[in-house]
Assembly symmetry: C2
Homo-oligomer: 366 residues x 2
Amino acid sequence: MTSGGDTLSVCIMAGGVGERFWPLSRASKPKQLLSIVSDKPMITDTADRNQAVVPAERIYVITTQDQASDIRAALPFVPPQNVLAEPYGRNTAPCIGLVCALLAGRDPETVLAVIPADHCIPDIETYAATIRDAARIAEREQALVTIGITPRFPETGYGYIVAKEALPFDGETEFSRVARFVEKPPREKAEQLIETGNAFWNAGMFVFRVQDMLEAFQRFLPDFYPRLTAIREAVDTPGLAEAVEQAYAAAPAISIDYAIMEKADNVIVAHGTFTWDDVGSWTAVSAHWPTDEQHNATRGSTLLLDSDNCIVGNYNEGIIGLVGVRDLIVVRTGDALLICDRARAQDVKKLVAALREKPSTEPFTT
Amino acid sequence: MTSGGDTLSVCIMAGGVGERFWPLSRASKPKQLLSIVSDKPMITDTADRNQAVVPAERIYVITTQDQASDIRAALPFVPPQNVLAEPYGRNTAPCIGLVCALLAGRDPETVLAVIPADHCIPDIETYAATIRDAARIAEREQALVTIGITPRFPETGYGYIVAKEALPFDGETEFSRVARFVEKPPREKAEQLIETGNAFWNAGMFVFRVQDMLEAFQRFLPDFYPRLTAIREAVDTPGLAEAVEQAYAAAPAISIDYAIMEKADNVIVAHGTFTWDDVGSWTAVSAHWPTDEQHNATRGSTLLLDSDNCIVGNYNEGIIGLVGVRDLIVVRTGDALLICDRARAQDVKKLVAALREKPSTEPFTT
């Protein structure tokens, strides 16, 4: 048994759009390219973090053709040819299938960690140990490993993974077989899940041997699987781009959870103990900004008078002044301004949709 | 008896700062230079309106030395030499005394209407008739006329003028002797005043012969009066600037109401029937902007989703998006943004004071 290090690669999935971060996010500047939490783009932080897992030459990124050049610019330490491009976004299953086929074309023994580009994980050491441990158990068990996170509160915005019997393992991380996946639960259900001590947040991070994942595609997406075989066989040939195009033309827009993880029987959950946050909305961001005694989280130049529980992000020169307001999300960029009830953070995407509908405001979404 | 037209001049008082209109107003760009209500600076609208009263060459403006060149630029139809400058602002009494002394130096028969630069009066015809009628009665009675406005609601932010016996007059406007002035009353008191049918809003507009006003200065500000005499005697001589400087060094910072109008016994109130608004805060502005069915008043490019009773002014390129908020004042300029509870419009000046206190934010007030 190896340490998992020699054959391990990391692939960062960076195809998202992130409408919930308007006005900072735009079609041309999606969430993973934004500096929301730190002063670096989220994908830069993510790739940095994964250098604690593997050397930079074994970090891959899968993104859309539109974003590839911006992603390469944000990751000067990642070899440019490691930034792979989907023709367009089709959810996570085709994306992971494509990466597996490309890597299997070179080395089917590759163990791959697939990681979203836009999450926040401050405890790099524990994260890296968890991914390396997951790689070892994926090899040993020929299993698909999903990284669960020990839940800290009954979040209703995440899916949960319920564990069953523990697996013996001689490292720091604990692992269990998966009993079942639970979609975003109501509050009471989330509280019950946490009380069992056996449920984990589904962080959308997976570790597996590429050949095991391809076998799962063969079993659960048999119509699509031949397209992946064609890609695998076209690696390092002039026919690769054509094979990828044809695969995507036939690809179902489906998540890897729904297509494979929830159906496969060789699924293992890692008990991730590191702090993790998917930074899914402006509300989530506020946990990463300085907060004053009135529970205002601010970034950039602001002056707040008699104001409480606001999230105020100033991404421009100049100043934001607040007088006597509460429970607001305020985000100011060079050309646009959002003011949103903090309970309505998810509805920012509705505003983006409304902006798209009018020719006069559509430019503020692109 | 003349029509009052031959000897009538209008002087627009334009020395204010207007902190309540931050971030649009700044020390270098006070309220009267802003385009708040229409697409012209308020002083341009005011001077335009007064061309219905007198020809442009008999419109004067009194402002501070800092603002004089911007004011001249905003009023290309007013002779530049008619824009007079105070050394600095000292409230309305010294300002009106200065103008009276300057005009009396040329023609003591002059009847003068003194008008604030930053009010909104859409009904120009009735306004002009009222001022001309007031000039006639000021000449006839050798009285100080204050323009009252028939109150439309029990506003607590205005002073009131209580009338006593009516004066005979052969024109459209009604006039009464003044019983007393009432400072900004509480709500209940304002309601009582309106019910009497005998109380008027104090609009801060006055019409009088300059010699009558100078006599009032002699009686009620005897220490200051000799300074005005010195100015009057220095008109058209090289000593004028020095006389003005010395007058201001000794000038009490006091309002004309408090110093003279409330004390004089020859005071008449005009029953002004035109719509008048002192546009004293962002809340007052909303009455002049288009309003949607959710009672949102907007100016400039905005998109509101599920939002009610907001005042949203976009004074920049780009867009403001609101989601699920209510009762806010939002004003966006190129370098600053205000978000204020609409019940706190008066406290914008507190924010400006707080900005002034910090070296890093003080530039946003200048």
